[in-house]
Amino acid sequence: MIRKAELVLLSVLLLVSFTVGCVSMSRYKQLESETSKLRAEREELLARISEEELEAMPVPPEISALRGKVLVEVPELGDVYFEFDKWDLTPPAREILTKNAAWIKKNHPVEVLLEGHCDERGTVDYNLALGDRRAKSARKYLILLGCDADRIFTISYGEERPVDPGHNEEAWAKNRRSHSRVVAP
């Protein structure tokens, strides 16, 4: 036979657990509704900002010097090549740049665009920065050799415009380059 005390104890336990269950359930439901309310507010905020996006008219802060200009190839200006992951100029590179500088000075006031390129092996984003450094490295040297700084521009193509689409050392070496074009007179 169960003693009365035990029965009472059991009933109390039952009641307590039941209550705890209900309370935690209702607390959970409360949290749930708070969360969905916050979510709804956030969605509304995002929707409102999207409207403003449409209204806003972005104004270009500064026009790049090359917009709209026509560029032509010049066979006399040779390409300079770089070692893997580097932007400093090797002796052969300096020789080519010296010849290029002579042509540029002779054809003053020609405007020159120096391109910086990479092979495919780095990340897309890093190679944009690396190509930028290669072009600027070549530019610095040309200025040292007496070219007009105001007439030499740079552009980076990262790994996006290879001359050789191959996936081997030979192709990669050809793609790590700085190429020159000039603004049509």
Binding site: F18, P60, A129
Partner: protein
Amino acid sequence: MGKRVIFFLVFIINFSLCLAFGSSEVYIDVTKPGFKKIVIAIPNFYRDGSFQKEDNLSKEMAKILVNDLRISGLFEVIDNPLFLSAMAESEGNVKVDFNQWRVLGAQALVKADYTLGEDKKLMIKCRLYDLLREEQVLGKVYRGEQNLLRRMVHRFSDEIVLKLTGEKGMAQTKITFISDVSGHKELYTIDFDGHNLERLTRNRSIALSPAWSPGGKRIAYTSYHEGNPDLYFISSDGTRQVAVSTFPGLNATPDWSPDGSRIALTLSKDGNAEIYIFKVDGTDFQRLTRHRSSDWSPSWSPDGEKIAFGSDRTGTPEIYIMNKDGGDVRRLTHQGSYNDSPAWSPKGDFIAFASRQKGLFDIWVIGSDGKNAQRLTSNSGNNENPYWSPDGRYIVFSSTGGGTRDVYIMNSDGSNQRRLTFLGGNNYCPSWSPRDSREAFGNSAQEGGEN
């Protein structure tokens, strides 16, 4: 003996009561490792509420739904719709014989039928049943033009995912990416399930690094078509585009702040690549990094307070984190010698990135506290450009693992890898749209609920 039995009985009753009242509507926690997929049965959709008529339209709708749930990686869909359809037919429209479905091993069941009005408009009625609780838990009605069929089914599949896993599905989202299949690098968009490929640009130049705005209405991207790598906004349907940042040098690798008010990007106008932020109306440019090395590829934290970025200030590319004003820079990655392309999860806890080991890139995730680095891809060529889904459950990335450079999606733990692009050429630089914004994708489908 009697005492013990009674005590045991009371305990059982008590426990069951607690379970019954304490249970929530979230059935599975997909963030726990080793979660079990939900088994769901999906017979064909039926026409006009009667089970006699079954045609290509109903099969197609079921196919879309089955595929959505399967590729979500959260469900095991019971195959053989013909067999299931016979079962559905046998029990009639109104009844559900829960037992016969449970015998198949299913935990959930979908029943749907549609009508085609005289105006050629579709009306689809969808119901989701919980076979363990033996009740209907979801009922939706969708109305719209026939050409919105996929969108309507995607909408229902997202509701199923929400009901059974606590977070809305990704079936209605899109991915934008770069492809050179046309001969030039242009911007494209594609649905989560790989359908609806759309070409957005015809610049016939080089498009790069797109980033979808949090509002869903436009995409920021870099293009060379006016002679310089400038930053543009293009509407998500490709109809309008405008230049936003046109400094000399790079205007690249944009990333929107989570509230959509600012963009962080890389500019090289001051000498070498540095990170700036500006307001989306084109004003208020602020420089954040001032190192003589290069800094690039910013990625905002979801609370908008920090920015992860790539930098080679120690000699090789590593990932760093700074405050949104450029202060308090700390290094995040310490493994290998080349870590780049950070992407901060919308949940804030992890940052995905590309890490080069033994000459090849793989996608890794690391806690934003710098701990718990995990590798997600391996033995699959070069894997780059990771980007998170808006629910933080998936990562889209580019890979050469299949022989060609294509866009892939995987679960955030590296499982369930699926190729997304089959158009040819090189496909990379993916970015994920926000959760469906009805206005962004312009449709007139209405949603009603009978639940």
